[in-house]
């Protein structure tokens, strides 16, 4: 098992400022009303810095890190 981090939006706090989509376009898209659709995949290591900045920049503290225990993918399945 390895610890990974995912991003999560608290939809009640989110006010569609859109900074997350500017700072982390690799993982965040905006819907037709300006609210973020966040990838449910683990944040890849090379994007962790950008993800941290996006979380810190959210004016309503709606973008969150969720810790998740994820089973390491088996290397030699077949």
């Amino acid at each position: 098992m390895t610890r990974t981090r995912r991003l999560l939006v608290d939809p009640i706090r989110c006010d569609a400022h859109g900074l997350c989509a500017e700072l982390l376009p690799e993982m965040v898209q905006l819907d037709d009303w300006g609210y973020p659709i966040v990838s449910d995949q683990a944040v890849p290591a090379h994007l962790l810095g950008h993800a941290r900045r996006a979380v810190a920049a959210c004016p309503t503290l709606a973008l969150l890190f969720a810790e998740a225990e994820v089973a390491q993918p088996a290397r030699s399945r077949r």
Binding site: D10, P11, I12, C14, D31, W33, Y35, I37
Partner: protein
């Protein structure tokens, strides 16, 4: 009902005799709740009857692991097409209160709170009367109180109701875990009244008795509210696994049935072929992507327009958004308006695809499941009534109304 009826007299065996004496005469005294009852609910495979169908035994086990818990009976029934909980409160309040008392004893709760919609005055009067009877005859070891909750579809959402009990506005919260932290921050077991009424009988007669009707995988019975284009809008109890056509037949549907909404306003539309094929249990409804939910069944007959019903309910659901989450508050009105344009003759080209895209954007993006229910109803409705969509587009509005979507007053609903 007729002798060939598929309806059961279990939960509704005391219709017209809601008093404690009739209840005790019918069912005998209630046993105490304990760990054995939690096990028995697991054997009975009892699922929650408020809509989500979550296994009762798992909820109970989570709460029983923790100390100082509370039991909440969620009898708000804000679903406009559902009347089964109010019917149960009127005709068998002691069955619900027995179930709540046994639940409280089994999980070690120190309080039971019964929440009823402020507009359901006959139901809360009946419940108040039943509580007074129980106090006089010392039926409950754990104290029970009734709260008259503000009306509103979303008020009945678990976290919204708990928030309101705690003194906040009745609005859903994000990532709530009531079995850990609910009323006053205490572990809280929230159940629909019908679920607790089943508990009262399973506690008395056991899981094998419960399973003497219904299917092997999903035994037992359920309450349903049948409305729409039927001669007798009514509440009934049926064995799980009953054919949907047998279930709606005695209510007098307008034939040929064009479609059926099952599970509530946030449920799933079945077209005529799916109605003919369906049985009322998880297996029998899975091919249509449906579930019995809170037991709502709305029939669309030939005199009505199913598409217009989809548009009307979509618009109503959009109006019920708590307004907290953008994709719900902004998205549902957008998509409800878009479905309304399908009813008129001038829907833009590729409009179905545009609606699909918005539905995809809305789904799964609220703090609660209100937007997801609306998405399910709209998506299945457009699919079930695709013929109507084409007709409206090419030949113009059919000018048939939506079926009756509001229920008669509770006192007029036949059992």
């Amino acid at each position: 009902m007729s002798p060939t009826s598929h309806y059961l007299p279990r939960l509704l065996a005391t219709v017209g005799r809601p008093d404690l004496a009739a209840h005790l005469q019918q069912w005998g005294p209630r046993p105490a709740g304990g760990p054995g009852l939690i096990h028995e609910l697991g054997r009975a495979r009892l699922g929650g009857r408020g809509g989500a169908g979550f296994p009762a035994t798992r909820k109970w086990s989570s709460v029983a692991e923790r100390r100082g818990s509370v039991v909440v009976v969620n009898a708000t029934e804000g679903e406009p097409a559902s009347n089964k909980d109010k019917t149960l409160l009127l005709h068998a309040p002691h069955l619900i209160l027995d179930g709540a008392a046994m639940a409280a004893e089994a999980v070690g709760a120190s309080e039971v709170i019964v929440c009823i919609d402020e507009h359901a005055s006959t139901a809360w009067r009946a419940t108040g009367h039943a509580l007074a009877e129980r106090a006089r005859h010392r039926q409950d070891r754990v104290p029970v109180r009734m709260e008259v909750a503000p009306a509103g579809y979303v008020t009945g959402e678990e976290s919204a109701l708990i928030g309101w009990i705690n003194g906040a506005a009745p609005l859903p919260t994000f990532a709530s875990r009531p079995w850990e932290q609910g009323v006053d921050g205490r572990p809280t077991l929230v159940h629909n009244p019908e679920t607790l009424a089943h508990v009262a009988l399973i506690g008395r007669f056991g899981a094998d008795w419960f399973a003497s009707v219904g299917g092997a995988a999903h035994p037992g019975s359920a309450l349903v509210t049948i409305s729409g284009d039927v001669r007798h809008p009514s509440v009934h109890e049926v064995a799980l696994g009953t054919r949907l056509t047998d279930l709606i037949g005695p209510a007098g549907p307008s034939e040929p049935v064009q479609g059926v909404l099952i599970g509530g306003y946030a449920g799933t539309w079945l077209d005529a072929a799916a109605v003919a094929a369906a049985t009322v249990d998880p297996e029998g409804l899975a091919p249509a992507g449906a579930s019995l939910g809170c037991g709502v069944i709305v029939v669309v007959g030939p005199q009505s327009c199913g598409l217009r019903a989809v548009a009307a309910i979509a618009s109503w659901l959009a109006g019920q958004s708590a307004g907290q989450c953008g994709p719900c508050a902004r998205g549902l009105p957008t998509v409800a308006d878009a479905v309304g344009r399908l009813v008129g003759p001038n829907a833009p080209p590729r409009w179905n695809a545009q609606i699909d895209r918005w539905l995809w954007m809305i789904e799964g993006r609220g703090a609660c499941h209100h937007p997801d229910g609306a998405v399910r109803m709209i998506r299945s409705g457009i699919q079930a009534f695709q013929g109507e969509v084409d007709h409206h587009r090419h030949a113009g509005d059919c000018h048939r109304p939506a079926p009756p979507l509001a229920l008669p007053r509770s006192s007029e609903v036949m059992v």
